[in-house]
Symmetry: C2
Subunit: 158 residues, 2 copies
């Protein structure tokens, strides 16, 4: 099943987030990642949802989101040209022997080491889906201790 | 009111997100930002929630989250030493006269220009709360066209 990125601009009202997530869970639609935060307009919040499904399913989701009283604008990024980014913080097991190699890999991926502890390194990486997956795949070999992901955000190019 | 960052490790089950957000909206607790994504363990998701409130309110929130059937671990990051980061994509109005200045500011904040259009620049910036707010404050003078934020994620230092 294909991944889809949906952006929903909603009024900054109480319970909107619950209504949107309830719409997904109530209909059996899976959410891979979701985030919500303020926008340039203090009365509006933007949610970005990554979901999986065939085209018909996603079209139905978008229609349902459009119908919500509090939704101002729904964009299905399948259809357009867009920039998507995610931020991941990952704590990797590191010994005096492996630290150098981990740092070198981080550099190659333009990731930043943001914390150093005797037995671990914490790395910040941003990018699109494939870059992040590749980096995390490499880090798995060293041992991932802890991991937190923001989920994708997206903006149209045009 | 103080901002608090709460991390909730939850079982990757259907409707968990709705139960967590419903807990906030049902009790009148405000959510500033929220994000949810996969972790190092495929059976678990991690949610990071930034909320505002006095200590007693936040303590109550944490207790309620702890009681949820699907929550595995709740961390209130007020209490410990942690690293927090957020990613923001911002599209700024840019003319041939202002483009250079915007790029220079982006560089000073270690932000990246990720898209160039005739009338705008799209910039990716990551950082803690104060850095992001400062950068967005500067970009406001040029004119923010569109903005999307992931909300904070956090990992403990120790």
């Amino acid at each position: 099943m294909q991944r889809h990125t949906i952006s929903v601009l909603v009024e900054n009202k109480f319970g909107v987030l619950t209504r949107v997530t309830g719409l997904f869970s109530g209909r059996g639609y899976n959410i891979d990642t979701l985030n919500v935060g303020p926008t340039e307009d203090p009365s509006l919040s933007r949610m970005t949802i990554v979901t999986r499904g065939d085209d018909a399913t996603v079209e139905q989701i978008v229609k349902q989101l459009d119908k919500l009283v509090d939704s101002v604008k729904v964009v299905d990024y399948r259809k357009g040209d867009y920039i998507d980014r995610e931020l991941v913080l990952v704590k990797v097991h590191a010994t005096s022997a492996s630290r150098g190699e981990i740092c070198q890999m981080a550099e190659l991926f333009r990731a930043k080491v943001v914390d150093v502890q005797p037995g671990s390194l914490t790395i910040e990486i941003t990018g699109g889906e494939s870059k992040i997956e590749k980096f995390l795949g490499l880090m798995k070999d060293f041992g991932i201790r802890e991991l937190t992901r923001t989920g994708q955000v997206a903006l149209p190019r045009s």
